[in-house]
Symmetry: D2
Subunit: 260 residues, 4 copies
């Protein structure tokens, strides 16, 4: 039973080998600290840019279901801001943010020889196998498709561009694009690589285990949800949403009974 994350005594706190007060505070940003948590070393400048961009792209998506959850929870329990944010985070599951995990798992499941990294025919063959597995199972290919941001998701393209500009290997990007092309061909429609797909590919390139990749979304959205609680304090909407929903959803029952 051991943990290697941190230790402290009265004068010193050390996190992953770095003295908190001397080496981290004032020198390291929250996003870079997240990199330290996941990779056990601080990022270089290029890694910092790409990693923070991945997080920022996930932090705020406007009035999503989880933002509404945070606000509705805060309405009932204003004594527990942490509970409202936590409630919001609990919706970051398979439907939305979980596709990071799906993409990372798909890409990290590639085994055997690495020919595909340099050989276009091998890449093509690998991508075809992956895509057809999903198409045959009538399951959505993770990381591909978006209801609004099509034919391209500009966030995904930007993240890939940043990664290339900062020297990250682009093998998983190319593999995901090849998978996408096969899927588009088989399903006969345009399927953009979406932001969570790009993040799943970049996290894989960086060496993050797929099992924890959903955590990128959790780190980032915690930041955004605090912003929603603040706005709810200033411009509340939760009570109105609740009243309107209750009224609309139960109108047939109330009416059905008002003549009784």
């Amino acid at each position: 039973m051991r943990s290697d994350i941190a230790w402290s005594n009265a004068e010193t706190i050390v996190i992953r080998g770095h003295d908190l007060v001397e080496e981290l505070l004032g020198k390291v940003s929250l996003g870079d600290f997240g990199f330290l948590e996941l990779f056990h070393r601080l990022p270089d400048e290029s890694e910092s840019v790409v990693f923070n961009a991945m997080l920022v792209s996930l932090a705020e998506h406007g009035m999503t279901a989880n933002a509404m959850v945070a606000r509705l929870t805060y309405l009932g329990a204003p004594e527990s801001l942490q509970g409202a944010v936590a409630a919001g985070l609990m919706g970051l599951g398979t439907t939305f943010v979980g596709t990071i995990e799906g993409t990372a798992k798909m890409l990290q499941g590639v085994s055997g020889d690495d020919a595909w990294r340099t050989d276009d025919a091998a890449l093509e063959e690998l991508a075809t196998g992956i895509a057809e597995g999903f198409v045959t199972a009538r399951t959505p290919v993770p990381g591909i498709g978006h209801p609004i941001h099509k034919p391209v998701d500009p966030r995904a393209e930007k993240l890939f561009r940043l990664a290339r500009e900062h020297g990250l290997d682009d093998a998983y990007e190319r593999l995901l694009r090849a998978v996408k092309a096969v899927a588009e061909d088989r399903l006969n429609r345009e399927l953009p690589i979406n932001v969570t797909g790009a993040i799943g590919a970049l996290a894989t390139t960086m060496g993050l285990r797929w099992e924890v990749s959903r955590g990128l979304g959790v780190m980032a959205r915690a930041v955004g949800l605090v912003g929603h609680i603040l706005e709810e304090l200033d411009q509340p909407i939760a009570r109105t949403v609740q009243h309107e929903t209750e009224r609309t959803a139960s109108a047939h029952l109330v009416e059905g009974n008002s003549h009784g």
Copy 2:
């Protein structure tokens, strides 16, 4: 019913007036994005240093109760990493992180004229009134005292030093120090300003409403808790902790019955 945080169409996502793809990704770190959420503008360089330092000081405290909660929850529900982190965040209440809120509320409750900001006698009088209110009520003064980091909490001192070096007004730091001095005098023991106390003072200086100040801890600890889940995957401790606790806590019952 309106929200001013974000809007989007197929090609563009705009957050607090900034085009996500063009102006934020690759340029803004997660911590700076948190500043944008809370203050509706990006930080300047000095603000960025101080704000990120505040967050980083809260992100990781080793094997705390909430880190254990995240790990024990993950043991039961590995399908829901977001749930494990959310469970961990729910403990960021009045006992630990809530003291940010307590300090900020105490400092933001100062009303009337601002003489204390420049007049030492007025500062002393104000601090005495505040401290004696808590001492009389036999309630701990928020932001003061620490079981381990004494006589000084090095994180608090570092944060204050960074803030001064980066040009933040130090009125609330001075007020908190004056409150601390009165409390030490009345209670006759050393009471360091702790890290959450310093953050409560700095958040107040920055203009953050006390009601949302606990959110700084939530933003930061979400980052740390993902690190704990990753370590739990590699070096699990939750099952052992649970078994040991169960065995120890129920030993008297099992023994009491084994002779029956």
Copy 3:
């Protein structure tokens, strides 16, 4: 470090002294088991009726904020039904269910001699002191007032009637009614004792610590929220609510920018 709740070996599980298989399964209902958890003994028949009625009165309130939270969370994370219900429960705070706690705390705060239990003048004096404390502080009196169920909350009256019919002491009911009368007089409006007020009074009569009285709402609402998830599976509303809210709340931003 000891727990007296349960122990087990390969053949036997014992909970608060009762053999689970031989004495509880098939004989004890979930509500009665809740009584066992809180009072460390099984209820008699009368206690069972009243205690279950208290729980049932809290279990389902239709499309409340916490029901919406559970549904919106399930939309994002259908892999984690437990997370959706848990998210819903997190809103059972001071605004709604927390008033059980407020009422119980108010009533359990009565100290000194017990004359008020038998002497009407003492009751009146005690109630006046309590009510005026809240009125002076401009704080709502816990357990009193309801936006819809007025001039009486029929659930509260029913619970009190059941309690009297089943032999519970009515001293705290009388005290709460006296507090209500004073509050109505001072504030010059009708203030029904609401359902959480009645439950706070009955829980106090039963000897439940106020600190855990909110737990009655948590036990009960967990049951109701599972029902909401089931209905969400059959007749989903979460996605529609989210889309409508997003559209309405950000309309001014989208319009403001569509001409740009």
Copy 4:
């Protein structure tokens, strides 16, 4: 967008067609109310016995991981009892309670003709197919096996006996027993049907969709976790567990550095 669960006006609250005050309070127990939520009608006496027994068997398992989570969360945020219970519930995932869902899904996945219900050879063939699917995939068969309660889980046997005595069809019990026998044969070890397996089978017999079957555990454990918070108030263990874990897990780091 409609909900059929409840409606109300100033005088009346109606839940699934029943007047709350007139027909439910004082007449219906919390467990029976749970039946109403799931099946949209009240249980008859036999159904009530079996359904409540299923819930009670899940309500309390002593110092489990989720009980520890609730207590550790309460340590940090005593202002939010609902958050502590909710945190505890979040661990009711695939590892423990989720096996109800696994069993129910396995049994509800049986399609085609119903010969197996009356024809032993068909039952045997069906069970063999199911069991071999899991054995081949090297996946545990849901609802079978237990680390402590072996060779039989007495709770499972009791639940099945209660169900038969109260007239429930036993087809799914027989199917699960047949699956178990094949699995024992193929894996060459004793595998008791466990309590969550029995509940998955009985829930299937009752007609509960597998997607919501995990909700039985959530309903029940919410009751048990409130009991743990109450005991934590009286006999706290969370702080000790946390200190001991922290000390043990970081001993190597502290020692490694104390000579530096």
